[in-house]
């Protein structure tokens, strides 16, 4: 890649993102040099795809939560870009234990300390977690 081929395609995925990355490219003298890049269309497409997928899954989960099929746990799990395995690691629990808490009935019976732990992991207050509809 030559210096004049370094892509400058802004990401426009999340607000306030102006980071220019450094890339290595070949100059007119044949020597490698560092050039700043605002982004590349191909990479942006892959990034946008990843975020669109997250947003779509989150919307599906939110709808199920509103319909009373799921507790707020899977909603906040996905909002924090976690999967079951990762959330279980953060909670220090087995995956099947966390999965049980996905059920609204089981969620209602959770102790204050478990709810507090979830709230910490999700970086929200316990009230935000229990009042989520």
């Amino acid at each position: 890649m030559n210096v004049n081929e370094v892509p400058q395609d802004p990401r426009n995925i999340k607000q306030g993102d102006t980071l220019k990355k450094k890339m290595y490219a070949v100059g007119d003298d044949g020597k490698y040099t560092g050039v700043k890049s605002a982004g590349w269309e191909a990479e942006n497409a892959a990034l946008r795809q990843a975020w669109d997928d997250i947003d779509e899954s989150l919307a599906e989960t939110e709808a199920k939560m509103r319909a009373g099929q799921l507790s707020p746990i899977p909603y906040y799990m996905q909002k924090n870009l976690m999967d079951l395995a990762l959330l279980a690691r953060y909670m220090g629990k087995w995956q099947w234990q966390v999965k049980r808490h996905f059920s609204p009935e089981v969620f209602k019976k959770l102790s204050a300390s478990v709810l507090e732990k979830y709230a910490q992991v999700f970086n929200i207050t316990k009230e935000e977690l229990t009042n989520k509809r």
């Binding site: 306030g16 102006t18 290595y24 191909a42 990479e43 990843a50």
Partner: protein, 334 residues
Amino acid sequence: MSEEKFIHCQHAHCESGVTANLLRHEGIDISEPMAFGIGAGLFFGHIPFLKINGTPGTTYRIWPGAIFKRVAQRLQIKIQAEKFRAPENAMHALDDVLATGKPVGMLGSVFYLPYLPEAFRFHFNAHNLVAYGKENAEYLISDPIMEEVTRIMPEDLVKSRFAKGAPEPKGYMYYVKSTSKDMDMAKAISQGIKQTCFFMLSPPLPWFGNKAIFLLADQIKSYPKKFPARKAALYVGNVIRMQEEIGTGGAGFRYLYAAFLQEAGQLLKRDDLAEFSTELTKIGDNWRNFAYYASRIVKARTTDLVSYEELSELLKICGQQERELFVKMKKMKW
């Protein structure tokens, strides 16, 4: 030396960038490509059954922590590197070293680094950054992928250093203890190149080195038959992200390594290294071509068999060309 102000330089890749910045602080004039090459940072790996954030794991670089350690070892630099069980101990240890005026390298998760653009903040736990001081409650941070220095609150830093998942940084931190006067750059370069050739050509397992490129090519070909359109496209998208996202310098580190070969060629006055650099630059262009073609599949969200087959073929070209290059490099006389 260590009392001097820390000078932040932006780099393409986090670990080789941190290594270069830390060593330059000690008065060793080393570029990022040089650190990457001596530390044998280039690699390829694809492990279909190891899912990271739900997609098969693909890497274009060696495992975290290896570059700094190898560079230090090859340049006779004494370092201290440690992991911690308790976050409090890890933060105390960091404060203690910072109090002596030494900048400290750390491993962390990008998800918990608020200064990074949100678009990049996934649960990626192998990011490297430097703390070079503390002011009021905040840590002064030099993150090599950022244009300027930044700051972070201790509660965010501790979350990042103790992120869970794969791999877990466990508060890993490292710093230079002392440097040596008798550094042998030529020897360090040859050791780095030999190791990269070994890691690319010799692993007997299909998931590592050059072989894994062909494994990924076969996998990609099978995606549209095995998965629904959305999942197949997500898997392809993840390969692009690993190749092009923050800290790869473009083309999955191939340009960064080509820059190293060029610099090494100049330093050692060897034309063969310069030729290998030119060759790898062209291979890097092919990797970018592959990513560009892959992004069209991502945008189209189709399971059109032909496009996946073509994509697979483009990847095989990269794999074949790289194989030939490393076979030649392995035969170099030192």
